[in-house]
Amino acid sequence: MIRLENVNKVYRTKTIETTALSNINLFVPKGEFLSIMGPSGCGKSTLLNIIGLLDEATSGTIRIDGNIHSNYNSKAVARFRNAKLGFIFQSFHLIPDLSVIDNVELPLLYRKTSRKERRRLAEEALESVGLKNRMSHFPSQLSGGQKQRVAISRAIIGKPAILLADEPTGNLDSVMGNEVMDILLRLNTEGETTIVMVTHDQNMAQKTHKLMRLYDGSQVA
């Protein structure tokens, strides 16, 4: 499903060259739940961004669902992200001026989905995270855990094959964190969604199928 071969990422300025990722090799089969751990600044988020085609590797090959995207133009990459990938961010990244349901509908705006169908799917996605009664609320009216559940609904509404979660429980207390983690586990087991999650939390990581450790941009386990 996800295959990375000899992936490197180097940030260059006129005077400094910083290696963010060095020679990363990774294979995540369909339906697997992988967690990535490591200290701050070790390149976890960079790796997740590269897997999610939000950032480009300096060298190496990235195959997602069998496709190599280095030759795709930005429009084709955007289309692919929309169809195959879902994102969950640590700080939720909900749009404050849109209601909960409008936030959830967002990925479908970039597909040819009718307004009626968008509504139906958004309601369904919100119901799956237990937030159907908060559809017309605005993000500022929700708790952290609720915001993250809305973000999960937004990530899964387009039924993506791969979910990429960047510290989804990082901004939540342990109860809320566990709730969110349970939802992710359910999506993985029931929906066979492949999930790659960056986390600092050993307990959360232990609940996943596989753990990858990064240190200073290199794979250590």
């Binding site: 429009k75 289309r79 961010f89 700080s91 990244h93 749009i95 404050p96 001026d97 937004r154």
Partner: protein, 442 residues
Amino acid sequence: MFINYLKLAFRVLLRNKFFTAITLFGISFTLAILMLIVSFLETELGDSPPFTNRDRVVIMPMLTMEKQYVDTMYTYDTSYIEMDLVIDTAFTTKKAGKSMSTSSYALDFLEENFSDIPSVENYTFFNPYSRYNAFVNGTKLNLMAAYVDHRFWEVLNFEFIEGQGFGESVYNQQSQVAVITVDLADKYFGRKHNVLGEGITMDSRTYKVIGLIKEPGLSWLLSDIFVPSSVLSSEDRGEESGFGSFMAIYLPPKGVSIDRVKVDIKFIGDQIPMPPESDFNKLIPEYHSYYEYFAQNIFYDEDSSKSLSIMMMILSGIIGLFVLLPTLNLINLNVSRILERSSEIGVRKAFGASRTTIMTQFIFENIVQTLLGGVIGLSIALVLIYLINDSRLLGSVILKANISFFFYSLLVCLLFGVLSGALPAYRMSKIHVVDALKQSRL
């Protein structure tokens, strides 16, 4: 998708009310000024009454008579041949200048020479304004009278409120009849209607009112009373030389170019013989399209097409400045407003929005904002137009707010919206998704 954008546009506007109020004030004020310019141009250059055929008319306002002076230069070449002084004389001539006289036409001169133009369907000869005083209940009233022929009412399309213009037989009978404007009716009779059959005294003659019209509202047609030119004495019809106070408007049939009319006028002008006793030896009739004539009144140049070009350049410059400066200001405001939303752009891109989609969204939002400003601007412009017309700030020019005015105003709004939104939207659409997401304001 656009409903979503629309909702978002309104929510963004409501989010920072002070910022929105300042932006809307700037937009609406700018657009109100632009709409006033549009209204003025629509009044003077649009296809509204009485000039519903502006594109098709040729105006012949002035006649120039010219005399070319020639300098003769003599060269003396002296030599001695067999002790005799021989003087050879040679001379050359060159143009040394010219004297010219320009004036409007005498009516008889026009009728004699310029009545029969092959490419013309209809025409009118008229004296656009003569000033007279009238007295109403002891109060002096300035009258601007136009002496017109019966064809004047066919070539121009006045909006009659009561009655009508005079026909050929009334004209030929030299009847003392008049068509007056509503404004004059109000000043002279104290009412704006039911004035047909009333008498109006001007220049020791009393004219019977047979028609009541809306003001022409044009800067160059200032008259408020229109009477038959057939009532004029031969002295008032102009001089024998051809000079007088009349002008001509020619209307070719549809499909015939006004350039053909111009060629015909020039041809006729070239054929008119100059009497030997005349101070001049060349006759040059001026002829312009409506727009050239309008430009000629503001920026005079011998070549009226040059006047039009100068006017168009200055006008474009003024409109350009009026659009450009607030646009730059709005671009600046928009950049800071959109920057606040960079993480939203990041999220949208992450979930599949392309650069074009992002640009479309922000330009759409900007157009919504501009249209909102446009509605406020339109209201301000309509109030200003009413106040300007009511106070006669522009003299006889009556600013119009018709369908074309609304159409052009909408066009101005859209142009303003796209111009001020495109650059910030383009910049933000180019922002890298990871960088955008790092601007964590969501």
